[in-house]
Point group: C4
Chain length 278, copies 4
């Protein structure tokens, strides 16, 4: 069976209308957990993308030892170190640049045991691949989750090779969704998303998007959409389509070589508002 | 009795003309107090807005444990930690991301006991709701103050529910103004401002402004106008009208989803100079 | 005798032509000394202005206790703490946000005793007003110096009131030049500059420039011109004229209220290159 | 024999096409080593240039004592202190603002002994000039290296004067290439590049590029091209031509005085994508 195409025009309408008496409380709280030493930037990329995709508020829990007190470019973000109590959340994005140490594992276990919606990316996926207990917790969760593995991470989760995944992308994404009972986005050219309504393929995006941080931005967009009330399937489908379309817009502006994730975030917002206003 | 409309064209003319031999001393000193751990950005948003709205100089006292030495985007701001002596001020904005611990409470008490004009926002309002002594100090102040509660903060101040406030916005803002004898801005769609000349309603603004930090920016604008010589009523009315109009301008540029407080600040300045030059 | 007008078109031509085999060593080394706790931004403003006005390289010695390792907006600047050995310099700008403590005083004394050209601003002037030994050192210096007092600083240097200065601006600037045997720029509307060729008045600038950091930027521009080979008189005259003209250009773009020193720096560069290419 | 001209149109085509299923792993890992105390910015300039020139991922190892956790302007970069284990690399750029202490020397020795391609700049060259063991290691390396000395560094490497180098640029670059058996770029007006196919001269560039950090940016571009699969000769020739052409584009926009390395990076990317798309 062929994967279905994403109908982004229908999905974007599912974002809630903003009533006249809106306030940020209506648009959810995103908590990003990640950014260990050397990788703090990854968590900021995720958080900035969540903010610019419409989340009501965005916290970042940084595992790095010397976390900055403020994001000078986006002081709207609230930065915490890993010892601070976790802020309440509508959705947590966990894994971006998180590393795989004991602190990371504890934060992941806490997240898996919570009733909070989760976007699981990068090192969260690596930890789940490593630890049977975490796999168990994920499979048993009743709250919704999204997994966003690239082929290498999918291979680790399924204990096979990346080549196995790439030659069986359709079957792989379905198996992951079945094992973990959640939305799964298998990234790569023609990203596949396994949802309750079957598998979808994304047709936006281009090779210019092969730079660092692109996946971090995608996780942030998914989280923002969940925070605004979309279910994990819709949030993931809309996000992956939008993310690729933003990359396509940048490629048209001749930023194919050296395209940065930071730029993608701004382009995403532009496009999201455009799609929404049609 | 219906609230009156704000005549922003008349108010903007009350900003003092800048004489040929102007110097920054003529436009007042704003001191922002807030920015506890995890929330340092809130205080920067307030301070940047005060700077861009014409304050002569802007200091920021950050309660966070590891405050940055400089705001790289706006090195014009002077950053201090909470142990430094408080700089002299024309007006203090207190509360943005301040938290409610003992240090915060002491700084608030010091401010309430001073003869300096105050803009009381966020955690300053929460502390006042919590502590009878602070309420007393506020009610007895002779120097001018502005309160800028959102409905939840107003409910805490009046010991009722947010729903009570929202169904009696007009009565609520008047009661707060009566109890505390100061300018009160009850935020939300159609913000109400209780002044010496009765209650005014703001008709600018839109649901796109439901992001984090929007209130921090508003406090900074009010403070800048007080620093430049407006009384608290005029400063608050002009600021709320301008702030909403800036949000409307951004919404027209299709930045409704993911609009940031940072952008609002720049748009505010653009509009302020436009209004002023008409 | 009336002050003369500045012929900026003639002065700009005195900036050295950049030969084909130029390298940064030809355009001098600026060392900015200042930026004590709470005021680190002032030194960055000066340094950025020096860089953008063509200095070959720019170091910043920050007196603040927790100086940043890098200026994220301008990583071209080299940041040092006050304990590091002072880098070699063509010209030092000393005083911007420096404070008046013992470390500041020692650095100033070291500078006055050196054979390095100096731009003395803000707290350097306050320290000189306070300490007879420093006044002595300044008066005896053989290497060139520029003083850039605003009226309050001039009053402290001449042990009179600001009103005295303002009612005798011409005499005041001449007296300072005579006492200290150097170029003196008395800031304020119609800045007066006492040079070897008599006193000049600047006719550019506008009241929108009454924000924080404007003087810091001016010091940086003067230093950059000295670094590139102009004598202190020419450097100061060209800088003050350019600085005001940049402010006038911003005012025309309707950024009169809330104009920032950061913007002035970029506008200065634009104008400098324009003047230079005519 | 006259040096040959660089055929940038042919070289740019050697950058690998980005296949549909591209991912960042295909475009190499750049590790920048440098940025000692006071000079952290130099390493960031190199790293940002590598990112914007298309490297798959970019790490920065900073020797400064208080390295920032994140580059706020480019959170895509991964920042490490000098005690962290060195990340795996396709190519290392070593030397930018690195200083010459024991830590620097050890990192250089480790790099010379590795099988990783190297771009050796600034203090790496100074250390090699100082230590016979390092010279030996460089001469014996089998993995490819690029040296990018300016005339002063070349003089130190050849134990002669800068004037000697400048009056014998052709012979100097050839001698360095012969001694060290690697690609050598002798910078300065008409940069000369000694390759396997003889010496090339670069005809782009202008005296406006005499600001700090320009060489750091160049090293980053070379490294990005090596990371993407070009050999060291092609990478260096394409980079130096592009770097100069970007400076020429900025000069046309009248940013000759005060041109910054940061701007050059963005202009480089614009031009690279343009050349590539022809």
């Amino acid at each position: 069976m062929n994967p279905q195409h994403i109908d982004e025009k229908r999905l974007v309408k599912r974002l809630p209308a903003r009533p006249l008496d809106s306030h940020k409380g209506l648009f959810g709280k995103v908590v990003v957990i990640g950014g260990a030493s050397g990788m703090a930037g990854a968590a900021l990329l995720t958080a900035r993308a969540a903010l610019k995709s419409g989340a009501g508020s965005v916290h970042v829990v940084l595992l790095a030892g010397n976390p900055p007190a403020v994001d000078f470019l986006q002081p709207e973000l609230m930065l915490h170190d890993a010892e601070s109590p976790l802020p309440p959340a509508t959705v947590r994005v966990i894994g971006c640049g998180m590393g795989c140490d004991a602190v990371a594992r504890n934060l992941l276990q806490d997240s898996l045991q919570s009733q909070i919606a989760l976007v699981l990316d990068a090192d969260a996926l690596n930890l789940i691949a490593l630890h049977a207990e975490l796999r168990e917790l994920l499979a048993q969760r009743s709250a919704p989750s999204v997994l966003t593995p690239h082929p290498g991470e999918a291979a680790r989760l399924l204990a096979c090779s990346t080549a196995d995944i790439q030659s069986n992308r359709m079957a792989s994404v379905q198996e992951l969704a079945k094992i973990f009972a959640c939305t799964v986005l298998l990234k790569g050219a023609g990203s596949l998303c396994a949802t309750q309504d079957g598998v979808f393929i994304n047709t936006t995006g281009n090779p210019g998007m092969s730079g660092p941080g692109m996946g971090d931005v995608l996780s942030g967009i998914i989280a923002a959409f969940i925070a605004q009330g979309l279910n994990t399937d819709d949030a993931t489908l809309l996000a992956v389509s939008l993310h690729g379309a933003a990359g396509d817009a940048l490629a048209k502006q001749r930023i194919a070589i050296g395209m940065t994730a930071s730029e993608l975030t701004d382009q995403t917002r532009r496009l999201l508002n455009q799609w929404r206003s049609i």
